[in-house]
């Protein structure tokens, strides 16, 4: 009985002796923090800051600040990061990947004319917008939709992009302009089209023979804005933007705008 107690006591003492050196071992010193400044060329500053925070494993050991440079066309601002070397490396790699090139997005623009008169709806509507068009047909009272023209626009974030849509009435065309900004992440793109406009571009009439004789120049008709709006758009989504007259119109112009997925 006494022997068992002694054995237990000795075992406990041995454990204590083993634990003591482990407890006395020097704690692993944290890597020294250093402050670095990164140029942000294309990304939104808040998005860059969040990206940097995502790279910081120990949040309490990181300090991240932003500084906007509004008058510098080559950069949006700076990111100032105080963190250990490993975190700085991760941030640098992430920024090189996300901020290396400007964010671009392709848009498919289809312009259709709609009428309440029965007619042959065109069959060459692309497959990716047929669902949107079917939804529209079940919703609006127009009976036929005619594809006037289609244009593919490649736009860079925060920069206006412009496209010309032909086949307007009397040889005229339409000008499509848009500007967008990415609100989502690299995997989940959510676009905000802060300016989308459609304007007709009338053709300058050719001077008649009488006008040529008189030497009078024919003044070109001014371009007229038809659509001017803004909206959110997810990658791969098709939005319908249309316009018609208030006074019982039987015709309308319909734009099917699709943010084309990158891959």
């Amino acid at each position: 009985m006494i022997r068992n107690s002694c054995v237990r006591l000795l075992a406990f003492a041995a454990l204590l002796l083993l634990a003591a050196p482990l407890a006395a071992a020097p704690q692993e010193q944290p890597a020294p923090a250093q402050t670095m400044r990164y140029d942000i060329r294309f990304m939104d500053l808040n998005a860059a800051e969040v990206l940097a925070w995502d790279q910081c494993e120990q949040k309490e050991r990181c300090r991240i600040g932003t500084m906007a440079v509004p008058n510098d066309p080559s950069r949006r601002g700076y990111l100032e990061v105080t963190a250990d070397t490993a975190t700085q490396e991760r941030i640098a790699r992430a920024l090189a990947k996300q901020d290396g090139v400007p964010f671009t997005q392709s848009f498919q623009v289809l312009l259709l004319s709609a009428t309440t008169k029965a007619g042959n709806s065109v069959a060459e509507i692309p497959a990716n917008v047929q669902k949107a068009l079917a939804d529209l047909k079940g919703f609006l009272p127009f009976k036929s939709y005619q594809l006037l023209d289609a244009v593919w626009m490649r736009a860079t974030q925060d920069r206006p992009a412009e496209g010309h849509v032909a086949a307007g009435r009397g040889g005229s065309g339409y000008r499509v302009r848009l500007r967008f900004r990415n609100l989502g992440g690299p995997q989940d793109r959510s676009l905000f089209v802060d300016a989308f406009s459609l304007a007709d571009e009338p053709v300058t009439p050719k001077p008649s023979a009488a006008d040529k004789k008189d030497g009078e120049a024919v003044a070109p008709r001014a371009s007229r804005p038809l659509i001017d709006t803004s909206f959110n758009l997810k990658e791969g989504e098709t939005i319908v933007v249309g316009t018609s007259k208030m006074d019982g119109a039987d015709e309308a112009l319909v734009v099917l705008l699709t943010a084309v997925p990158s891959s």
């Binding site: 925070w53 300090r63 009272p141 000008r175 933007v241 007259k245 208030m246």
Partner: protein, 172 residues
């Protein structure tokens, strides 16, 4: 003679009574911790409406859209949705003189504004009937020169979002 004005005296009294005047303020670490907490905070999900309210709202929206926008012989309202409205909003828009790229700042009104949106369209002839003889002419001239625009945003049952712009201009 006291030269101290009323504002200065009030300012002095407020400063004297400020309980935090002697405190140094937040430390830099605390400021960063607060900023970090704000940046990484996840917004709370908003409470959802009860299904009954959603159904009633959808029915009201359908009624609003059909009654206010379906073309009628004496009406000057444009073609309208016929079914399947899940969301709708109406916005009064004054188009810019040139098609620039300035972002729009006019806020989109809520569903209830769908009824109000028709008032300006119909109010002009109503006022003209009861006004003096000069008033109709002036309003008619104004209508000819100033294009009126209404913007309606809705989504179909299939999920397609539609932005429809009604304009008073002569032709498209």
């Amino acid at each position: 003679m006291n030269d101290e004005t009323r504002d200065e005296r009030l300012r002095r009294l407020l400063r004297e009574a400020d309980p935090a005047a002697g405190e140094p303020g937040l430390a830099t670490d605390e400021i960063h911790a607060m900023r970090r907490a704000v940046l990484t905070a996840i917004p709370e999900s908003k409470p959802r409406f009860a299904p009954a309210l959603v159904g009633a709202a959808a029915a009201v929206l359908v009624a609003i859209a059909v009654l206010s926008l379906w073309p009628r012989p004496e009406s000057n309202v444009a073609p309208a949705p016929s079914k399947g409205i899940s969301k709708i909003a109406v916005e009064k828009v004054t188009p810019p003189p040139t098609p620039g790229m300035n972002p729009r700042t006019t806020p989109v009104t809520t569903v209830a504004a769908g009824l109000r949106a028709r008032r300006p369209v119909r109010s002009t002839p109503h006022r003209a009937r009861h006004g003096r003889t000069e008033e109709p002419q002036r309003l008619a001239q104004q209508n000819e020169t100033e294009p009126r625009t209404r913007q309606i945003q809705f989504s179909t049952t299939g999920g397609t979002r539609v932005i429809w712009i009604l304009t008073s201009e002569k032709a498209l």
